[in-house]
Amino acid sequence: MTTKTPNSSNSDAALAGGHEATTASRRDFLTMAAGGMCALGAGVALVPFVDSMNPAADTLAAASIEVDISKVQPGQGMTVSWRGKPVFIRRRTPEEIAEAEKASLADLKDPQADKDRVQKPEWLVLIGICTHLGCVPLGTKATETRGEYQGWFCPCHGSAYDTSGRIRQGPAPTNLEVPPYNFVSDTVIKIG
């Protein structure tokens, strides 16, 4: 019978039945199994540390806010803070609504019809954070530049949004996000 080195594969060792070879392969198995369990254990032990960096319970307790929108005139907008983020509320003029509705979906980078982005066409509610790298776009105040598409313009890297808050130009990949909200009455909306 040929001599087997401890490095022989498991099946060879089993066939040979040599005492030394068998011991070595069992030992290899035990070493690998123990090593694998150690790695798994270390990975599991890491979970609480990594997860402790996720939003805490008090941060998650998402406060919803009620906003009085009775003072906003057509063509005007307001900004409120929700979950530490700015939320834009704009009362659109009939021209702005028409502009938003007539845009062809084929021209849009992130195609979405205007009616899917509003509950009442007059009121547009958006999270005021540019989907590129998180700046607050200009355009809610009438004195600010609104960009080429008359919606919002991000001063950081030049993304332009239309009157439905959809991305039309620049590096942002998606439309301004619509937060969850509902109309409590004709003049009060609840965000969150």
């Binding site: 960096m53 996720n54 939003p55 941060t59 900004t79 530490g84 607050v136 001063p155 950081c156 620049g170």
Partner: protein, 401 residues
């Protein structure tokens, strides 16, 4: 280190060294360490960077004693350091300008390595450890800039953390995890403070590895030739004195900034407290990030820009395998030399473009320079490795002078 079996030397140091060979180690690595005799002043920046790291740790330690990492107190605590804490203004200006000085020195250190081929075999790992130090420095500097909680702090933190949202599928979850919330807020500030305190000590450790790797094969030199025994001199006193002289020159320049134009490299916007509802009209990172910022903005695609930016640093780490020309030093590579200076001018132009608004000519220049950065790394260097004919090499360092 002295040999483990060497007999105990007389005296207290001998007694200590027999048990813990720290003095023997220092003697070998900082005094006797054989160094090529022809090093120019371009070789000053390594030890200088080490000294600046110590200055940063020391000034940061004392700043931390008076800083409060909480969103409603951070800005005021920094103003208190500036106005009420004894010499607080000096500590803060040393620390803020020290960050800039650190990057100046490290960029010069890298440029020296690039020109003289210090990244080539057998120093590839030494170079890669250096790139790791650069990445750690960038993370540390970024998080330090967030701590004063001014407008630039806040929006810088927002934009940079949002870079990770470009990662497909898990990007948004990663950003939420980084923030510990749904925007940059108190949990973010707290963890940035903790990490800003921790990372410099990590840098110190990695810098130690950098030094071990350096001392294994010794310093490169302006000729790029392997230094023979007779071409080497002990580090002390020859290079201790040269490094000290360089430190003196550096400190004079540094003091000019700290005492006369301490805010020249800063942004006035950062003296306005952070406001999560208003982004400043023109946000730019600190000057040392501008070339990378220009690369980020060069592509009109979020993921593409982020990948190019991180790719530009990854390519630095791959340099030993992109430039495989057998001759190390740019001194004997007439073509490489020209491209090297083009690369330097290009990097400066990238920095310039990164500081301008992303529109019109600025954007075009930023794009052209970004293109050249990658062409230099991926096309020029490999082609030169194959086809460039070097000028005649001297037979030794002694024969070169």
């Amino acid at each position: 280190m002295s040999a483990p079996n060497a007999p105990q030397k007389p005296g207290l140091i001998g007694w200590l060294d027999y048990r813990l060979p720290i003095f023997g180690f220092m003697n070998k690595e900082l005094r006797q360490y054989p160094t090529p005799k022809n090093l120019s002043y371009a070789w000053n920046f390594g030890s200088l960077a080490g000294i600046i790291l110590l200055i940063m740790i020391l000034s940061g330690l004392f700043l931390a004693m008076n800083y409060t990492p909480s969103t409603d107190k951070a800005f005021d605590s920094v103003e208190r350091i500036m106005r009420d804490v004894n010499f607080g203004w000096l500590l803060r200006y040393i620390h803020a300008n020290g960050a800039s000085a650190f990057f100046v020195v490290v960029y010069l250190h890298m440029a020296r390595g690039l020109y003289y081929g210090s990244y080539k075999s057998p120093r590839e790992l030494l170079w890669i450890i250096g790139v790791a130090i650069l990445l750690l420095m960038m993370a540390t500097a970024f998080m330090g800039y967030v701590l004063p909680w001014g407008q630039m702090s806040y929006w810088g933190a927002t934009v940079i953390t949002n870079l990770f949202s470009a990662i497909p599928v898990v990007g948004d979850d990663i950003v939420t995890w980084l923030w510990g919330g749904f925007s940059v807020d108190n949990p973010t500030l707290n963890r940035f403070f903790v990490l800003h305190y921790l990372l410099p000590f990590v840098i110190l450790g990695v810098a130690f590895l950098h030094m071990i790797a350096l001392h294994t094969h010794g310093s490169n030199n302006p000729t790029g030739l392997d230094a023979k025994k007779e071409d080497k001199i002990p580090f002390h006193p020859y290079y201790t004195i040269k490094d000290l002289f360089g430190l003196g020159v550096f400190l004079v320049l540094f003091a000019l900034f700290v005492f006369y134009v301490p805010n020249y490299l800063g942004h006035p916007d950062n003296y306005t407290p952070a406001n999560p509802l208003v982004t400043p009209a023109h946000i730019v990172p600190e000057w040392y990030f501008l070339p990378f910022y220009a690369i980020l903005r060069a592509v009109p695609d979020k993921l593409g820009g982020v990948m190019l930016m991180f790719g530009s640093i990854a390519l630095l780490a791959a340099l030993p395998w992109l430039d495989r020309h057998p001759v190390r030093s740019g001194r004997y590579r007439p073509l490489f030399k020209k491209f090297f200076w083009l690369f330097v001018v290009n990097a400066l132009a990238l920095g310039w473009a990164g500081g301008k608004p992303a529109e019109g000519h600025y954007l075009l220049i930023g794009r052209l320079c970004t293109a050249y950065y990658f062409i230099h790394m991926l096309v020029v260097l490999p082609l030169l490795s194959k086809f460039e004919k070097p000028s005649p090499l001297p037979t030794s360092i002694a024969a070169a002078s």
